[in-house]
Amino acid sequence: MKLFNKKNILSFLAVLIIYAIAGFFINTGFIDSYIFLNIVLIGINIILAVSLNLITGFTGQFSLGHAAFMSIGAYTAGILTAKLDQPFWIGIAGAALFASFAGIIIGIPTLRLKGDYLAIATLGFAEIVKIIGLNTEYIGGATGLNDIPRYTTWTWLYFCVVATVLFISNFVKSYKGRACIAIGEDEIAAEAMGVNTTYYKVLAFTLGAFFAGIAGALYANYFYFLKPDSFGFMKSIDILVIVVFGGMGSIKGSIAGAILLSVISLFLQGIPELRMVVYSLILFLIMVYRPQGIMGKSDFKFFKKRGVVNVYHQSK
């Protein structure tokens, strides 16, 4: 069990190769602006879903307010890059920091609230954030924040996604992550084994929000225009749908879910009148036929693959 084992080195190379190949196609225009835009959307959704998965899928804290973290990140990056003329990396860092600060604040109710009560509290928090956004003239209020420079490139996008996936999967496979999963399973038992549930719940929210903030920054600096109501309740639900669709507690699932749902959405663009009807039917069918999600830990085999620690223990 070492850092430089075969598997890690291979993954590292794979990450670089994918980056280079896709980068080549984008630069040569083989991947045109439309496809690229959708790649950006998928990337952002991956970050959002993986980070929500940490909170809801792994730690079992039911959150309906993830879009709020994204919006705080998006506005922070928007202000930093458009109004204060800062470079993108400062925008991203600021976004992540402000969002994780919000994560700490929203983490605090989790200390007392459980299940659906927590869900509604996070939803309320997200609505409050939205309404504050609507009434703050500095960021354009309901009119929105305009003319944000387009800094989100393939490189930024790709490495933010890779970093999110890497850090969160490293985290859940560490003892801290295991503590989070244990909280999701049985809080009382986790406590009895020495897990400070207060600390870990807030930590999960903070980390999740941190990455959602990054997603927000990528969004702001790609779509160039922000409006508070883009980050409403339905956006949070959309992210949750990806997580459940992919499989709670499965990072690969969140990635697959983000890609698949985006592709489905693209196909549905062609039938505008029935789009949402068909979408709802698809959601429904998936929940009926695969309620544990496409990569859910339904059976033993899947779990073994996901096995929280085993992955690298087996390779030692």
Partner: protein, 369 residues
Amino acid sequence: AQSTSNVASNVPETIKVGLNYELSGGVATYGQSLTSGVELAVEEINKNGGVLGKQLELVKVDNKSDNAEAANVSSRLATRDKVVAILGAATSGNTKAASPAANENKVPLISASATADDVTVDSNGKVREYVFKTCFSDSFQGVTMANFAFNDLNLKNAAVLVDNTSDYSKGLAKNFKETFTKLGGNVLTEEAYQAKDTDYKAVLTNMKAKNPDVLYVPGYYEEVGLIVKQARELGLNVTVLGGDGYDSPKLLEIAGAEALNKVYYTNHYSSMDNAPDVVKFKEAFNAKYSKDADAFNALGYDLAYFLADALERAGVADSVKLKDALASTNGFKGITGTLSVDEFHNPVKAVTILQVVDGNPTFLKKLEP
């Protein structure tokens, strides 16, 4: 049968026009209404031989009332469907989000309802080359109404009720307040609601306590209908002023004729207008959709003709040429008025002030810009 595919590709081409509208999501009503208007006009145009001898083909896509999706759809229409122009979106926000893709791909994007002042101009005051709008800017309607209230109606104490989720409503309110106070009027109070609210009694009770002689309620008929009705129920019987969002037969249905006494609003045209085009439009609309047209229907209808006119002038279905033709529009006559496009890609067009009498919006006054 073998050769059909060959033949198919040789049939006279159509001219593709993209529709980027809110067909689902929060503001689906407006997107759907605009789409109906556009579809009616395109049907007529095609029946009369099309444009440049070709039929117009609409590629209709839903942007879910969402920024990112509006950008996505815009990009798709420009790169995949290769449309010559994109019509939409309904709201200013979605139009702004859709505009980078239009500029990038050099496809004109024309909105008939994005009223914000900065839709066609960026924050540095530079015009967005491929973005156009055919509706008034917020500033125009707000200023006009303030002048009308102060000078014509002789009202001095206003209360403003604004939809704080709507940039349209906020834009109108801001300009109204500025002008009204500059003229010497008092804005006693400003209260807010959120789109889709149904109960306004709390804010109306507050406003009533301030004894205003006029309410300025920029917003859309769904909410305004309820607001006026509830205001009257609370005994707040003062003059109510608004903008083109009022223009719909639904306003009367929701509020009732009696409540609408003393309601005035700015609009593009009067649906009571007896001008032949207007009558023809209203009849055609009613025949196709079996209901009465509202402002969004009319704006959508004009938008399609506006595009057709520019295409004819461009001479070919080429989006760059089309952009130039659009920019040089001068005196296009539509049912919502005659308009020219100024250097900032905004329309120069007259505003009409209507008064609701016995439930019917009645022409009162027309102001040239």
